[in-house]
């Protein structure tokens, strides 16, 4: 068996596609932190958002419309998305919302009530 075949086999064996991090915007206001991630080719079904302890794990598998044929131009990377963020204690783990719309994933992380600014009434 020559080397090329062998390496092809190795590729098949670990099957998993290459992953990369998506372009990301993060901004915050008084109540929440918002993450916008650009993941073209990721649908609602193929997106997975998990919280593991202090980690927010975002995985999305990309699917491109395809055709049985040859590439004339190939610039789009056929790679899945994987990204991990560390959450601090100010984020309420129970109140995380994810929306995916046209390949743009929006995650809204609510801050805990205890860290929200409070107005103190003066007696």
């Amino acid at each position: 068996m020559n080397r090329k075949e062998e390496s092809g086999k190795a590729l098949e064996k670990n099957e998993k596609k290459r992953t990369r991090t998506a372009c990301c915007d993060i901004f915050h206001d008084e109540k929440q932190v918002t993450l916008n991630l650009e993941m073209p080719g990721v649908s609602r079904e193929s997106l997975d958002v998990r919280i593991d302890g202090n980690l927010l794990i975002i995985t999305g598998s990309k699917k491109l419309p395809s055709l049985k044929g040859d590439f004339l131009i190939r610039e789009i990377r056929d790679e899945d998305y994987h990204q991990e963020f560390t959450l601090d204690d100010t984020i309420d783990r129970e109140k995380i919302q994810a929306v995916v719309k046209q390949g743009l994933v929006t995650l809204e992380l609510q801050k805990k009530e205890s860290v929200l600014p409070r107005r103190i009434t003066i007696n």
Partner: protein
Amino acid sequence: MAIVRWKNNDLYDPWETMRNLQDEINHYFDMDRLPAGSGLFDRTNSPPIDVLESGNEFLINCEIPGMEKEDIELSVASQVLTIKGQKKIDAEDREKKYYRRETFSGSFQRTLSLPASADPEGIQAELKDGILSVKLPKKKEAIPKQITVKVN
């Protein structure tokens, strides 16, 4: 008796890493990093595209995440396909406190000269999950025909 090389899959194989490296490098050669189809009026902000060709049609994929159908303009004029669009930023967007900002907003354009065999009349476009896919059939005369040869 033939001697068969013993290979235990559980063991760490240093050559595996080398092969993976080889694949990695090959992958970069497969990719067309330079926008080959870009014209004189193309700007630096052009979204990446894939162009595929099969026996009877072309498929053009273009990555434009977060864009709505209304914001995209697709046109064909004398065998030149133009994908144009604008990603707007809200006025309130400027006031947000950003930790990190990596996404692009503003206008972009991508032009592509279509092969002579493409038929712009039958063009079909679909936007799904931030990917614009354009289907272009080939002209009838360009589709390869199967000719059966009779032998007497």
